[in-house]
Amino acid sequence: MSIALRQVSKRFGGVAAVKEVSFTVNEGELVALLGPSGCGKTTVLRMIAGLELPTAGDIWVRGQRVNDLSVRQRNIGFVFQSYALFKNMTVFRNIAFGLKVKKWKPADLRQRVTEMLQLFGLEGLEHRYPHQLSGGQRQRVAIARALAPKPGVLLLDEPFGAVDAKIRQELREWLVRLHHDLNVTTLFVTHDQEEAMEVASRIVIFSGGRLEQMGTPREVYEAPANEFVARFIGVMNVLEMEVRGGVARLGELEFPAPHHAESQRLRVGFRPYAVQISPDLEQYRYPAVLRHTFFLGIMLRLELELPSGLTVRARMTKEEYAHLGLEDGRPVSFQIRQYRVLATETAPLTPEVAASYAAPPTFGEHI
């Protein structure tokens, strides 16, 4: 275990920013703290670094309780969202700073900085000042500076927030490779679920200061713990249904719900990829009309309208679409292969309550 939080809370004045958060990060993992802005994820990161103090709870870094250690004693590499490069120092001196204050020998210091410059592809830029660098270069200097003193863990606050969309993709791949090469326990904050899914080996999802779920990208996508996670990670169709005769119903749609009481209201979700479509009107159970097709590159998003007026979102590849001979306005039939009961209506659906909803995840096959 490299980082562990136990019941950590943080209040700013009267506002609870982080509420009893516990999680563990293993040695060498690359973990994303994901959530909408203001959910407390950055506060969690800053508490691990010692830039904020927790109101309650314990924080452990590499087997040591660090609550009472100051920032400088924690041996943590921190990369700020704005990078916070020292404007008055060259690239070389920025990277060397952490070594200098730790009183490295000049020869060792020079060697380490040169090593970092090579590793980060910054050779030739060592005498430039931050204002003479591009956004991507600044980010690499910031990470190199944080890693130079060989920290126990690396923390990054929205590392891709300040670079433009075009190079963001390259930087993500680069970060994954870098982590693979260096194997430093890395924790980064992001509000972009796609980024978290792509880069992290595990994701911690926050909302309203509370930890909603922690798991691999696959786990949080396929088995979201609650409606918040389901909606935040990827697209999901969410329907409010009522149980009648052991079946949850809304319009034409019906899902077996044998464990739920009569006339109970349920929220049921299914991913667009779980919707199977056929141009053959007899093939699947539900009839619908393909109302609109959105071309999103290789994947397409489809909007189906049922006779009752209900709208269902589906997705498929371009090839599949062409193969089925679909077009807007065409009548089709469809079925839903996989769905989840996200919440019951007896409990109102705030994220907090959704999180406490104890029913085991129910996966159903449906024809």
Binding site: L51, V71, A84, G98, V101, K102
Partner: protein, 301 residues
């Protein structure tokens, strides 16, 4: 009643082409008036100092400055400024650090109190020190019993000068430190730097121009202060006369050339101050422009 707009030549206010500029007639009258006002209140007084100082020739000028009492005044001015400026420098840095980097209750009150000496008349400031350290005053008898001389001596003059120049460094430094934020300092701390290391290597370099600006203004006022110092100095020629006080002494002795000669040195100081100040302002503006035009080379991930 909307008639076609009439073109009225010579009436610049309505004849401007773009509608957001005044016509040339208005513009040049305004510029002319501003230049005339500046000529009377800025240029003529400045030129007059040097012309009067040299009115009896270079020899008389040199002779006026060679007077031992004048030399003593120059030396004393340098000593007073040399003590005042570092004192207010240390204070300004401490106050700026506390106010710019931390949130606390009563910050607005503290900032107002720091600005307070600017709104106290220098003569009143001098009087306060007389009331405090004079024989009639609160501490006077005790100081006298221990043979410590504050009034009519260097300590009193330094205290008076420190009082009137009190806010300069702090009020220049606070906005600069606030503008740079604390993230660079936090980054230094995560890299293991101590408070002093952070201050010396990160904070100080990023505020050095603002600091210098404050120092220049503080120094100019410290060397030129008249009212407060005049009240506590006792005006003893050769002993407690600073340069501005010496100007008055010579003026009252009807030694016009001497007074203007001494004044010309102070005017040179003022011009140097203005030059340095303009250079610093130009530098800061160029710094912003440079940051905007920063060459951005192709990123290499």
């Amino acid at each position: 009643m909307a008639g076609a707009p009439k073109y009225r030549p010579g009436l610049g206010l309505s004849a401007s082409r773009r509608g957001t500029e005044e016509g040339p007639w208005v513009k040049w009258s305004l510029v002319g008036a501003a230049l005339a006002f500046s000529a009377v209140f800025l240029v003529l007084p400045l030129v007059n100092v040097f012309v009067q100082a040299l009115s009896k020739g270079w020899g008389a000028y040199e002779a006026a400055l060679a007077d031992p009492d004048s030399w003593a005044a120059i030396r004393l001015t340098l000593v007073v400024a040399g003590l005042t400026v570092p004192l207010n420098l240390v204070f300004g840095v401490a106050a700026a650090w506390t106010i710019a980097k931390f949130d606390f209750r009563g910050k607005a009150v503290l900032v107002t109190l720091i600005d307070l000496p600017f709104s106290v008349s220098p003569v009143v400031a001098g009087l306060m020190l007389v009331l405090l350290f004079g024989l009639q005053g609160s501490l006077g008898p005790w100081l006298d019993a221990h043979d410590i001389h504050v009034l009519f001596a260097l300590p009193g003059m330094v205290l008076a000068t420190v009082f009137v120049t009190f806010p300069f460094v702090a009020r220049e430094l606070i906005p600069v430190m606030q503008a740079t934020g604390s993230e660079q300092e936090q980054a230094a701390l995560t890299l293991g730097a101590s408070g002093w290391q952070t201050f010396w290597h990160v904070t100080l370099p990023s505020v050095k121009w603002g600091l210098l600006y404050g120092l220049i203004l503080c120094n100019a006022r410290a060397m030129g202060e008249f009212g407060a110092v005049s009240v506590v100095s006792g005006h003893i020629s050769g002993l407690t006369d600073t340069m501005p006080l010496r100007v008055e002494t010579l003026y009252q002795e009807y030694a016009g050339t001497g007074a203007f000669a001494m004044a010309s040195l102070l005017a040179v100081l003022a011009l140097l101050t203005l030059a340095l100040k303009s250079w610093l302002e130009w530098r800061t503006q160029r710094g912003y422009a440079r940051a905007e035009r920063a060459p951005v080379s192709a990123p290499r991930p």
